[in-house]
């Protein structure tokens, strides 16, 4: 993540294509969808996302929707695929989930920053809320290959909303589940379990993805323990490619505050640099 506005930032690898859907399976409350994306797969890194057009030709939805890449598989000359985990929520995501194999969706990717990887083996903890777990499995694989210990903690309001496919678990050293209603794993909010687990696993680096309020809580814990915290944030995005300035989060840069674009300076950002309490900024922002 680069906070220096003096340096131009472009998604150098981003391509726009019509991607064919080659699988669309309901998994609990989510849809696991696979897209044929050619060379895009090769340049995707854990933490990147794609922006999809939704609603079809005569749709009242004019904006793209962002989805974290769950997995990218490069097949060389055969092209590659990316996989997404989509929660049917509003008009756009429901439309996506209703698509069939063989349908095409306009896709731009890979976009945004990727998770930073420790230069030496470290004890890492990957924390995901709801569909926030999506980008963590590919990250786990990469970290494991680099010799890191990977402890994964996934939480949701209820058991069915935890997205944790079997094949995703093979790279983790431990997997802890938490549910607000106690239907699976530890009963309680995911953040309640984190301090205990950090101590247990001797965690050095935290990666997180999920709702902003969860990331905020995790960030406090990371600061208490003085840990590096890389989080993938989620703000409303209009363009996904850095031209509209809707998706910003306030970030401390030296003594200054900069509103950085989560689509290009993020979504993966250094948790300690983010100003989580937006209200505290009211006076420094434009009215």
């Amino acid at each position: 993540m680069d906070a220096d506005l003096n340096q131009l930032k472009i998604n150098r690898n981003a391509k726009q294509i019509d991607a064919e859907i080659i699988s669309n399976k309901k998994v609990g409350p989510y849809h696991h969808m696979v897209f044929a994306v050619g060379e895009i797969a090769a340049s995707a890194r854990p933490g990147n996302f794609v922006a999809l057009s939704v609603g079809g030709e005569n749709s009242a939805s004019v904006l793209r929707r962002a989805f974290a890449i769950y997995r990218a598989t490069d097949k060389g000359l055969l092209g590659g695929t990316i996989e997404l985990v989509v929660a049917p929520h509003g008009a756009g995501s429901k439309w996506l989930c209703s698509l069939q194999i063989g349908d095409f969706v306009n896709l731009i990717g890979p976009l945004g920053t990727a998770f930073g990887i420790p230069t030496t083996a470290a004890n890492t903890m990957l924390i995901g809320g709801g569909y926030g777990s999506a980008p963590l499995f590919a990250l786990a694989e990469l970290l494991k290959n680099r010799g890191c210990r990977v402890d994964m903690v996934l939480g949701a309001s209820t058991a069915s909303k935890i997205y944790a496919p079997l094949e995703g678990k093979r790279s983790v050293s431990s997997l802890t589940l938490t549910t607000d209603d106690g239907t699976a794993g530890v009963h309680g909010q995911i953040t309640e379990s984190i301090p205990r687990l950090i101590r247990e696993f001797n965690t050095e680096v935290i990666y997180s993805c999920g709702p902003m309020s969860m990331l905020n809580s995790i960030n406090k814990i990371a600061q208490d323990f003085d840990l590096v915290h890389q989080c993938s944030v989620e703000e409303s995005m209009a363009c996904g490619i850095g031209v509209c300035m809707t998706c910003v989060v306030p970030v401390k840069v030296n003594d200054d505050i900069k509103m950085l674009r989560t689509c290009i300076d993020g979504p993966v950002m250094d948790g300690s640099s983010i100003i989580w309490d937006k209200e505290s900024l009211k006076d420094r922002l434009t009215k």
Binding site: N11, S236, C239, C247
Partner: protein, 311 residues
């Protein structure tokens, strides 16, 4: 067909083709250059620049609406110094034609910006965004009253000197847009940009509060196109010799043609770039085909055509 003349002119400046980006919808062009060479389109209209760096408004800054969106960016930007040092040289190097959009909170700020720009090489025109709250006058938007609108333009005119065309960007949120157009034309603009966004609001049904951090935001996208066409038609009817950069919900060649027939000399594409980074290129190609299909041999003769045939 190769002989079709797609160029257009605003005052003394010629543009290869009439498709521009819209201010605030293409940043300063760098990000879009990943998707097409910027020299392929008529001009890049930069995000409105202010004198000082500016953080902009609190988030959420956008809300999708039926066939449109609200934004409340609050003119976040690097300020004129960094802009001149970093963005303009890059745009020149990348062979983009550049229209610089400026914004101020006071008449003086516009004057300062104009002076900073007067000697800068590589700029084709200045677009003066007067849809900004005037901090000296209860935050009333300059574009909303003929006198404040013309005060800004007079100041820019005086400070810019030379032959750089000045384009005044007007707000549709007024009782009589022709009256505002008249006032800025009298104050010496070379062209008009129509239309800026309309003031709107979305209420979040979960929080039961306005969805945007800034409460209200500007409505853009196809939803507002009929209002853009009407505004362009009215103003072109009143001032057929004043070039108009038309915008508002253009997302394909047919939309662009509609604005051209209403009276637009060039077309800015805003929100459509968010749904498709190469929208400008597609719109350019589609517009050209549509014009050729209709028997036009050059772009200029289509401008305002809907007026010429009317009874």
């Amino acid at each position: 067909m190769n002989s079709f003349d797609f160029s257009t002119k605003i005052a003394s400046k010629r543009f290869e083709n009439p498709i521009f980006t819209a201010s605030g919808c293409a940043s300063s062009g760098q990000e879009l250059s990943q998707f097409f060479p910027l020299s392929e389109i008529g001009a890049i209209v930069t995000k409105s620049i202010m004198n000082k760096p500016r953080t902009g408004r609190i988030t959420p800054r956008m809300a999708e609406t039926p066939s449109g969106m609200l934004n409340s960016i609050g003119l976040q930007g690097p300020g004129i110094d960094l802009f001149l040092e970093r963005d303009i040289p890059w745009l020149v190097e990348n062979k983009a034609k550049v229209v610089v959009s400026i914004a101020g909170e006071s008449v003086d700020e516009y004057g300062v910006l104009a002076r900073r720009l007067r000697a800068v090489q590589g700029i084709s025109a200045i677009e003066v965004n007067i849809s900004c709250p005037n901090v000296e006058n209860r935050g009333q938007v300059f574009a909303c009253q003929p006198d404040t609108a013309s005060a800004v333009i007079e100041t820019v005119r005086r400070n810019i000197g030379g032959e750089l065309p000045i384009i005044a960007k007007l707000s549709p949120d007024v009782t009589d847009i022709v009256e505002i157009a008249a006032s800025v034309i009298k104050a010496g603009v070379d062209g008009l940009a129509l239309i800026n966004t309309l003031l709107g609001m979305v209420i979040d049904l979960n929080t039961m509060q306005p969805k945007l951090g800034g409460k209200t935001g500007g409505l853009s996208g196809p939803a507002i196109r009929p209002i853009a066409v009407r505004a362009i038609y009215q103003v072109h009817q009143a001032f057929p010799n004043t070039p108009i950069v038309g915008m508002g919900g253009v997302s394909n060649g047919r939309d662009a043609l509609e604005l051209v027939l209403a009276g637009a000399t060039a077309i800015s594409v805003g929100t459509a770039t968010f749904s498709d980074p190469t929208a400008v290129i597609k719109i350019r190609d589609e517009l050209k085909s549509l014009l050729i299909e209709r028997g036009f041999t050059d772009f200029k003769s289509a401008i305002g055509y809907a007026h010429r045939q009317s009874a």
